[in-house]
């Protein structure tokens, strides 16, 4: 198994007769990978499998060459921030980080340093000596993140890490993930907030009903499904009616709509490259095109295609 990738080889997990995940095969490279899917799609189960909190019913998992059933090796380089919003009673934020860091066998001085750094990274310095029980939801989210990053892991696994964070902290947290990814580390994130996933992810894994329905870079995933689902372009121009009629002459264009806003035309095509070439010809022919935006080249639309509108809005 590869020593620089997270690999799941035909992994299934059943809870009795209930399916957790089924036949998942993934090879996750360094960078930010987002797990996207509706509730119950298997994202958390997948993360728990990666960290050994649950064991696969079938298949093999390797995190940078280490089997998750060996916590003594795995958690030297893996940090996991779960969604469980519970903490050991009576501990302050810094005691919480410090106490669990000590379990790794690191010296007290080193643990104190790592604790201070992690707390600073998540912006909880002022609240560090307050009991975790008195923290707000966002602060609890941040202290969990601090615990996950305290030992400077090479693999960071984060279950809905942006939940409950205010916009400023959200931006800082995303910046932290990006820094990790730039350093060649793995950051695996699950999220419901699709525009954020779009913004931060190098690659996405789309899940539904315990299955991986698509994986790869957003654009790559989009191309894969292009043959089955037409791609949409939003074009702004001075002569929308003329553009609409010329566009409709292309045999790969399946739908053209004039939008109520001034100068907007929505075109659905089965051949994105062919349509872009045709647009160049139209521009040369004198149609004044102000802008072209791929209207569905993002996670949301891909997700909508693959999983369905209702679930995508959750």
């Amino acid at each position: 198994m590869s020593d620089d990738r997270i690999i799941l080889d035909n992994v299934s997990r059943f809870y009795g007769e209930v399916l957790g995940v089924n036949r998942v095969t993934l090879s996750i490279p360094p960078g930010i990978t987002s797990l996207v899917g509706p509730n119950g799609s298997g994202k958390t189960t997948l993360m728990n499998l990666l960290t050994g909190l649950v064991r696969p019913s079938r298949g093999r998992i390797s995190v940078l060459g280490v089997d998750p059933s060996q916590p003594q090796r795995l958690f030297r380089f893996v940090g996991y921030s779960t969604q469980f919003d519970a903490f050991p009673k009576g501990l302050t934020g810094s005691q919480f980080i410090y106490s669990y860091l000590r379990l790794s066998g690191t010296s007290a001085t080193e643990c104190a340093k790592l604790t201070a750094r992690a707390i600073e990274q998540v912006g909880l310095v002022e609240a560090a000596d307050r009991k975790v029980a008195a923290y707000s939801k966002g602060m609890r989210q941040r202290i969990r993140l601090a615990q996950a990053i305290a030992h400077d892991p090479r693999v960071l696994i984060l279950d809905e890490p942006l939940n409950g964070l205010d916009p400023l902290v959200r931006a800082e947290t995303i910046a932290l993930f990006k820094r990790y990814a730039e350093q060649g580390r793995h950051v695996v994130v699950s999220s419901h907030v699709l525009h954020e996933v779009d913004m931060i992810s190098d690659q996405v894994v789309l899940m539904s009903g315990g299955y991986v329905v698509a994986e790869g870079r957003i654009r790559g995933v989009r191309s894969e499904i292009q043959a089955e689902r037409p791609m949409q372009f939003l074009i702004r121009c001075k002569q929308p009616s003329l553009l609409a009629s010329r566009a409709f002459e292309q045999d790969h264009v399946v739908e053209v709509r004039l939008l109520p806003e001034d100068g907007g035309v929505l075109v659905k095509t089965r051949d994105a490259d062919g349509f872009c070439r045709a647009l160049n010809h139209l521009a040369l022919a004198g149609i004044d095109i102000e802008g072209v935006v791929p209207a569905d080249d993002n996670v949301h639309s891909v997700y909508e295609y693959l999983i369905g509108t209702e679930e995508a809005t959750k």
């Binding site: 809870y15 960290t51 909190l53 916590p71 003594q72 958690f75 106490s99 066998g105």
Partner: protein
Amino acid sequence: MMRLWCTQVLSIVRLEMKKTFFSRRGLWVYLLAFAPLLLFLGHSISVGHRREQLQQIAREHPISSEAFNSIQAGMTREEVTQKIGEPYSQWGGRNRHGEPREWHHSRYTDGTTELHLFFEDGKLRSVHRNPFEDPAQVSRIFAGVFQSYYLRLAVFFGCVGIFVNLFRGEMLDKSLHFYLLTPVRREVLLAGKYAAGLLATVVIFTSSTALQWLALLWQFDHATTAGFLSGGGWGQFASYLAVTALACVGYGSVFLAVGLLFRNPVVPTAAVLLWEGVNPFLPAALKKISMIYYLQSLCPVDAARDQEVPGLVHLLISPVQPAGKSVAVLSIMLLTFAVLAMAARLSRRMEINYSTE
């Protein structure tokens, strides 16, 4: 590697300390542990006070030992009064039913024994001599309570309360996963939790045992206490502390495993309680597959020698064929090791699935 494991075990013990010693959930453990202390303290105060009163009476109305011991059934009240004087307490009456008879109950003391005399129609019908409690008698009282209540109920349920919660409690609080996300082998985690539970139970229950012992001896003067302790009392004291600690070792391992393996610990706990409870009635071979058999074999005083012990309690506190001391210690350690080894093996398969809790 061993050094790392020891460091990790110590870190786990530090983390668990507050939960095992000071959790609100565990307050009843202190109640179980220290209830006999209150009982013995009350007994000691009451008996000590009574003894002082009687010794004062004996000083004011001295009776010679010869006269005191010469009292026997069949004597008349006048003869008794002639020999040992007027009683310090007496009361009497007349039978209301059957043949009318006049009766009297008189009490005397020589400062070491209380004499109860029952007269009927002026004739002494029965004589009861109640010597004041001595340390040997007190040690038998302690042995009875220790074997029938302390080992079988207090230490047993105390270990249930502390050891079951080490895993089960954190599963219910949904905080166990923090341990599982650290670079600690599951076996080391189990060892750390066991050490934390053991530290708490041993401190709570052995300190209670020691205090109970002190409370019972408190009624005696310094010379009597010193005489008793130097005449084998210290050995008994050390044995009780060791038996208490061994009970925590044995029961602790069982209930740690119960907390790890069972979602609802009530049924397995009841099963263990039943098994330990019916131990006296089991065939010899089955008796040996229990903690209580070996623990009772290690107790230094045979409480069952006390004539006043009721029949059922007699069975509970007296192993018919006690095991040898070294066999008993070795057996408890082996049972503990076997249970912990099985729990360690199963801990590798432990998963976090709070939604089913």
